[in-house]
Symmetry: C2
């Protein structure tokens, strides 16, 4: 009698909150996620002990596997998954891991700038190269597919992701960041990858171009909403639950949607206070920023934006996909994006 | 009447010494190099001003275009170049640029560790992402080719290059580094890329597998010799000519071939002196290391290794390729690898 496969190691080792939230949604793709997990390890195998150690270290970063889940659920809902879906799901997870590893390098570097930590150099050097190693393996794995279609789409996406990151760096400490530029940044750096996950999931399931395009928009919308929710959690979340220091975006000079809205709409005195907090270096800066913005309408504004993006995304599912367990899971996943507290 | 195209911008802007050395060898592929130059710029075009600025900045790193030259000359000598050669030559140049940009980040970081410079953070963040942008575009461009063959070969190569870099980082400050591990490092980090340049150059010119394999070995040999020559220049070169600080490898804890040989063969007292210099922090450390090793047999040992690799490489050309202008250029290029002084 066949038994259900155990959950992939990455889900077992994921932060409890994140795993608990996604677990019921991944039941229809449990076997595929296990295959992704195995392919991930197989692709990164190396004869060098120092590489093996770093690859193990990378597993610590792996969490809810949102991007593979999007590829697989979209595929399932749009006609059924194939071996190509497993490959693509593994590739996007590697790309995502690479961005996390490199983001981590940048964040470490910033902490050094503020003098909080130093001499993490050896770790940082390895992290730059480890990120490169992951990007390289992502493309290497993708080139094992018969057609160039996925390589081309993912290559285009990573071009765009890097542009988004560069635009964000360029606007670091820009207190006059507009909402337009903010959306340009997050659509490139975050939503482009979730968009291509859903597009390729549908494409490789044999969906029509119209359905694949609708799924691409679905992915872009929930990616954008996901980022806005991250912005909100940075200002309102509970440190213990979110698991990272909060108010960090503002402290790093990354303006988030509520902050941008506040700078445009709050009473002049409040704006000036925020501005001086953002450029200043008070020890309880993050807390003061949170306390200033929390009672304003700016949190609601950002929250409504995210909810509206998710509503559009869910409508696309209803319009373009036949009812199925996988479609229900995608719908629930979209809903959770703006409901999550971690 | 057709006129010769002007030399590509990268050659015009290259360091004088490097350009002067390679210029006569690139005459048979001048038109192709111009096409590479144009494709490089076209592929990296962006609608974002901040990205345009960084891409311009990257041009400063571009020098002798050794890797595109290898793809194109091998292609020409093995049956003739095609449009695919232009694409592959541009791809390998982007990969090489990415490694330079990321190496630069690592080196900057090290200077920070020693306290020499700080607060180059914004530059470093952009450099990490710019390197990623170049890698991403390299694979994106490669996926424009009809077959996956080049993507797969280049993906495998970049996997290996990253492993070489990681192995080098892991052996930083390892004063007992063996010659075996040293060769493992440089064959992966440097020679794997020159090897794949020559292999793909031949493959895409319709060469037989035997010829392509011989060209791969040719590329691996001259890449390895190139790195050993770099080691030697670090110890013996003239600062003004090489254009970077010398003795830097030792100071950074990167053991080079002459140093490894010295640690194995020099009189015990000399070895102990070198060991104490390597772990110490004297202000004129680099100069003292140079003065200690210069009169030893270790420089000759390394130099003979490099010359022997080049001799094998040149013999492969004579055995596997029919005489042609392109073959003569490849032969001369191999000779110059161990003759160069910058």
């Amino acid at each position: 009698m066949p038994v259900n496969p155990p959950p992939p190691a990455v889900l077992r080792s994921a932060p409890a909150a994140a795993a608990a939230v996604l677990a019921p949604l991944t039941a229809p793709i449990a076997a595929e996620l296990l295959a992704v997990d195995q392919l991930f390890s197989r692709e990164l195998a190396s004869d060098l002990a120092c590489v093996q150690t770093l690859v193990k270290y990378v597993s610590r970063f792996r969490g809810k596997m949102l991007r593979p889940v999007l590829v697989l659920l979209t595929g399932k809902a749009a006609g059924g998954t194939t071996d190509a879906h497993t490959v693509i799901a593994t590739v996007v997870e590697m790309v995502h891991m690479a961005t996390l590893v490199h983001d981590d390098v940048l964040d470490d570097a910033e902490l050094r700038r503020k003098g909080a930590t130093i001499n993490h150099l050896r770790g940082n050097e390895a992290a730059v190269m480890l990120g490169d190693f992951l990007i390289s393996h992502a493309f290497h794995l993708c080139s094992s597919l018969q057609s160039q279609a996925a390589s081309r789409a993912i290559g285009h996406t990573t071009n765009v992701v890097c542009e988004g990151e560069l635009l964000q760096i360029d606007n670091r400490n820009n207190l006059d960041l507009t909402e337009e530029t903010y959306f340009k940044i997050i659509e490139r750096k975050t939503a482009a990858l979730t968009a291509v996950c859903c597009k390729l999931g549908a494409d490789f399931a044999g969906a029509t171009p119209a359905v694949a395009e609708a799924m691409e928009t679905f992915g872009r919308n929930i990616g954008t909403a996901f980022q806005i929710q991250d912005d909100l959690l940075d200002l309102t979340g509970d440190v213990a639950q979110v698991g990272k220091s909060l108010g960090a975006d503002a402290a790093k000079g990354k303006l988030t949607l509520p902050v941008i809205h506040f700078m445009r709409t709050a009473p002049v005195q409040h704006r000036e206070l925020l501005r001086s907090l953002l450029v200043g270096n008070e020890p309880d800066k993050n807390e003061k920023i949170r306390n200033l913005i929390a009672p304003s309408a700016s949190l609601l504004y950002a929250s409504e934006k995210a909810k509206s993006l998710v509503a559009s995304a869910r409508a696309l599912l209803a319009t373009h996909l036949s009812p199925s367990v996988a479609r229900t899971c995608l719908d629930e996943l979209a809903r959770l994006v703006v409901a999550r507290e971690a």
